[in-house]
Amino acid sequence: MNPTVQTLLITLVILFTLLNFAGVLIWVERRVLALLQDRLGPNRAGPFGLFIIVADIIKIFTKEDWVPPFADRKLFILAPAIILFTVLLSFTVVPFAPGIVVLDLNVGLLFFLGLSSMGIYSTVLAGWASNSKYALIGGLRMSAQMFSYEVFMGLSLMGVVILAGSLNLTQIVEVQRGMWFIIPQFLGFLIFMIAGLAETHRMPFDLPEAESELVAGFHSEYSSMKFGMFFVGEYIGLTLISAMIVTLFFGGWLGPAWLPAPICFFLKTFAFILFFILLRAALPRPRYDQLLSWGWKYLLPLALINLIVTGAIVLMTGNPQPN
């Protein structure tokens, strides 16, 4: 097949799967969260309540699309587009299976880190452009949270990079054929998971949108599909972090031989999504200063120690994966 056509096809399939998956996640999260809280969740519309997704989408599309008169109109409209754009673009470097990757970049990991930093613009600009108190506080919190957690999010991955000797995600997965990086890089995994959670501003770290203090935080002023884009962006971001954890620490598509590679990848990713939903159900939101001091006082030193120890061991034993 023509390589251009093939890439286009893969892109379309991945886009289609992702956007639909984000929709299904709305239902998954509501059902699982309900089950964890001794409820049943939406189970009326359609089989297992699956049609709630359709109802949600219809609702969100028929709402009035309103830009507040006091808002900075251009940035206000731009902000929700950024989050969807960066998150979807990050998926171009994620290897779903051997050969099924849109862009096999040799700096894939850096590309992912860079785009996740770009994603902050979305929330910060949304908070700024809304021109209202709560939105601005949410946006500010987001920027502070990101600046502190971004630092060791990158650092925690350097151990993986040292062990794999490459920034290419496909290669990182291939190197894990012998042993998944979860074993030598357990600390790195923990730190990356916490940082990734903060990055997606999911439940335990949802300070930018803390609804009990800030109405809805940075997207207080958003309605209709602009709000929907934040929503979908958050779910795809959740998928992205899960996919990255699986790629970097849990051997990506590697698994038992009888399981097709993409399905193996999907199952691992889904397990992590379910784990994140469990986190949301179980853990309270930390206070803002606790979150920041936690990051700077514990996680950053831990990430540095992890990096130094990994580097020292690799130096002593010689390059484990000659490249």
Partner: protein, 171 residues
């Protein structure tokens, strides 16, 4: 740190707990016998209407949803000519039941009164009147009420029956 892992595990175990949800149209919640729901007008053990059209319920009603008109039978017993409750206004406070001297008006454990047309929420006497005695069995206002006058004790006059001793547990 340990407490975080412990709470994660405990919340995870809740996946397998029995769910608290009652799936309403199929399953119904238990309603206590004294639940304050739909209002009915009850009859005494002889099958006569208990209501004596004293207007106390209408006076007690904080939202003015009860309206009635007194009428009188040939034997002098009062009854409501019409009795109308507007359930779209009713707040189910139960004050009418507390005010009623004859236990005629009662709130029963039934709340499924939804209507598509608001006018249908106005209940007339034939909708309200039930055949039974409701929550208070064997109670007949005319058997416990009355006054002793002059030489006659309570219940000894013409067309009166001796009053029931309300403090006795025997029937």
């Amino acid at each position: 740190m340990f407490s975080i892992i412990k709470s994660l595990w405990l919340v995870f175990l809740h996946l397998f707990r029995k769910k608290a949800t009652i799936q309403y149209p199929e399953e119904k919640a238990y309603l206590a016998p004294r639940y304050r729901g739909r209002i009915v007008l009850s009859r005494d053990p002889d099958g006569e209407e208990r209501c004596v059209a004293c207007y106390l319920c209408a006076a007690a009603c904080p939202v003015e949803c009860i309206s009635l008109d007194a009428a009188e039978r040939e034997d002098g017993r009062r009854y409501p000519g019409f009795f109308r409750i507007n359930f779209s206004r009713c707040i189910y406070c139960g004050f009418c039941e507390e005010a009623c001297p004859t236990y005629a008006i009662q709130l029963i454990p039934d709340f499924e009164m939804g209507e598509y047309n608001r006018q249908n929420l106005v209940y007339e006497k034939e909708d309200l009147l039930i055949d039974g005695e409701g929550k208070y069995h064997g109670y007949n206002f005319y058997k416990v009420a009355g006054l002793a006058l002059g030489n006659k004790a309570k219940g000894e006059a013409q067309n009166e029956s001796p009053p029931v001793d309300p403090k006795s547990l025997m029937p």
